[in-house]
């Protein structure tokens, strides 16, 4: 067994016990990247020297008898939009290909404080604006289960690299599904936390009302470990929540679904779904039931309501993204990829009144949704995606006619929950679907991440997906 087959939790425990060094983990990971990444294009940049240097610091600290953090010695690579002072951060773009920020993101700083080692920047949709995993500047990222198929996006490299064991976990970001989709399509675990749960300081923005920072990992416990490191109020991001952070790791280590009511989200979430995706969803429901959960019906998928929520989400995202990109669209328009530019431009045209109306309505809609849905169940369960995993070729639509429909179809099941602020954990389904992973998302009320992890950990035992890995 290679060291890269260890989970993040197992790897850090091995470092703490002195069974392996952090440098061992780094060298194994670098060898894995050399062997596998040419097939997948998950890395924009491998920072081997940084990783070796930070690993040596951890190994010296251990040798000196110092206390090591909960992520001690584990190499992690991240979506290439997390700033490190003085380090390259491309944001998946040509425009920022040489960008060296002067600040370090709070998320990366907290991971480092807890002992994680920085391994490099991962492929992503240009400026995090795309759900497929295509990138016109760095090339498409490929799915380790079938390199001809998409990874999902926008955190494409985070999904691909983690599933392919080139990193023990990765940060992504999620504005409409960008953590959950690549986690789902690549067969791993991905958490979009509650809006504002994680600081966004030093993280490239796309739409500040909808952006979230979160981890992609191979197991629920690994995910809890990473979120525990990065969650919590940050004075550098005054929008970050002051709500106390629960014990995510303890929850993931106490798996339980007993008596938990899982509400099935139908309607909108089943609309035009491939039969195989719903079969996979039903297998997941059976696994939850075996773990002790009670399956109930909900009207969370009311078609008209969810479509309207998506429309408000689009009204919110458009002007926010257009505002961030206005300067570059003015000064270096041709440096954008065609799809990124095409998706940004409409945002200039929405009226200010409509944009603000979408935001003013949000508290009311969120409150009504929570009261209506979570009075009947503890968590919602919906597919993460409800299509057969498309090929890279068939979704390489750039800004061609109909490209919006391709994008909307892939992100159909994830988009509504960003406007609703709710946490959602993407989890692999028990069986592969025609050789590819299926995925469901478990969605809870605001700040219910610990309870989600506890239920998901019980599901994970039943579902057994941690036993499989792509053959590369």
């Amino acid at each position: 067994m290679s060291l890269t087959d260890l989970t993040l939790f197992e790897a850090t425990k091995a470092v703490v016990k002195g069974e392996v060094t952090s440098l061992d983990l780094v060298e194994s990971t670098l060898n894995r990247i050399d062997a596998v990444d040419p097939k997948l294009n998950a890395f924009i940049r491998v920072e081997a020297d940084t990783a070796r240097s930070e690993a040596a610091e951890i190994d010296q600290a251990r040798a000196a008898g110092k206390n090591l953090g909960p992520l001690a010695g584990v190499p992690l690579a991240h979506k290439d939009m997390y700033y490190r002072a003085g380090g390259l951060t491309t944001c998946g773009s040509k425009i920022r290909k040489d960008f060296r920020p002067t600040v370090t993101s709070t998320a990366l700083a907290r991971l480092k404080t807890d002992g994680a080692v920085y391994l490099g920047g991962l492929n992503m949709a240009e400026f995090a604006f795309g759900p497929t995993g295509h990138n016109e500047h760095f090339g498409a990222c490929r799915n380790p289960w079938d390199p001809s198929r998409i990874t999902g996006g926008s955190s494409s490299g985070s999904g691909s690299a983690t599933a392919a064991r080139m990193t023990f976990g990765a940060l992504g970001s999620d504005t409409g599904g960008s953590i959950r989709l690549p986690a789902g399509l690549c067969g791993i675990v991905g958490m979009k936390p509650t809006q504002t749960r994680v600081s966004r300081f030093g993280v490239m923005g796309l739409s500040f009302s909808l952006d979230n920072v979160g981890p992609l990992t191979r197991t629920v416990l690994d995910n809890a470990l990473m979120l525990a490191s990065i969650a919590g109020y940050d004075p550098e991001d005054p929008t970050s929540a002051t709500v106390p952070v629960d014990d995510y790791v303890g929850a993931a280590q106490s798996p339980s679904c007993n008596g938990i009511r899982i509400g099935v989200a139908r309607g909108y979430f089943e609309k035009d779904a491939d039969a195989a995706a719903l079969t996979a969803r039903d297998e997941a429901l059976a696994a939850f039931k075996s773990a002790g959960a009670i399956i109930v019906e909900t009207d969370a998928g009311n078609l008209d309501d969810v479509k309207a929520i998506n429309a408000l989400s689009a009204l919110t995202m458009g002007p926010e993204a257009a505002t961030l990109h206005a300067h570059w669209l003015k000064t270096c328009r041709d440096d954008y990829g065609a799809q990124m530019r095409a998706r940004c431009e409409p945002g200039f045209q929405y009226s200010g009144v409509d944009y603000l109306s979408a935001l003013q309505l949000r508290p009311k809609i969120v409150e009504e949704f929570i009261q209506r849905v979570f009075s009947d169940c503890d968590f919602l369960l919906a597919p993460t995606f409800n299509v057969e995993t498309p090929t890279i070729e068939e979704t390489d639509v750039l800004d061609h006619q109909g490209f919006e429909a391709v994008i909307a179809r892939i992100s159909q099941c994830t988009r509504p929950f960003n406007y609703l602020t709710l946490p959602g954990l993407a989890l692999p389904t028990p069986s592969l679907v025609a050789g590819m992973p299926g995925s469901i998302q478990l969605v809870g009320p605001p700040f219910s991440e610990a309870r989600i992890y506890q239920a998901a950990a019980a599901y994970e035992v039943e579902a057994g997906y941690t036993e499989r890995s792509p053959d590369l």
């Binding site: 509650t194 809006q195 504002t196 009302s209 929540a241 709500v243 008209d304 479509k307 309207a308 929520i309 429309a311 408000l312 689009a314 009204l315 458009g318 257009a322 206005a326 669209l329 003015k330 328009r333 095409a342 431009e345 409409p346 945002g347 200039f348 045209q349 929405y350 009226s351 409509d354 603000l356 109306s357 979408a358 935001l359 003013q360 309505l361 949000r362 508290p363 009311k364 809609i365 969120v366 409150e367 929570i370 979570f374 503890d378 800004d399 919006e404 602020t421 809870g444 009320p445 605001p446 700040f447 219910s448």
Partner: protein, 61 residues
């Protein structure tokens, strides 16, 4: 100088396709606003969503 809807800032012209996409999204958005607003948007503001989220921490323990 006034700007047309095809010129979000001086010297920048975008495609008619972008204008069409914007019209479609804005039209759907306006229907959604009408559906949910039920009258006036007085007595609310975007930041209230934080209060709603925090309130549910206790309610769903």
């Amino acid at each position: 100088m006034s700007q047309s809807s095809e010129e979000p800032f001086p010297g920048y012209v975008y495609s008619s396709e972008a204008a069409k996409r914007a019209d479609n999204i804005q039209s759907a958005g306006r229907k959604a606003i009408f559906k949910f607003a039920e009258g006036s948007l007085f007595d609310t503001e975007p930041a209230l969503v934080d209060k709603i989220m925090a309130k549910n921490v206790e309610a769903h323990k």
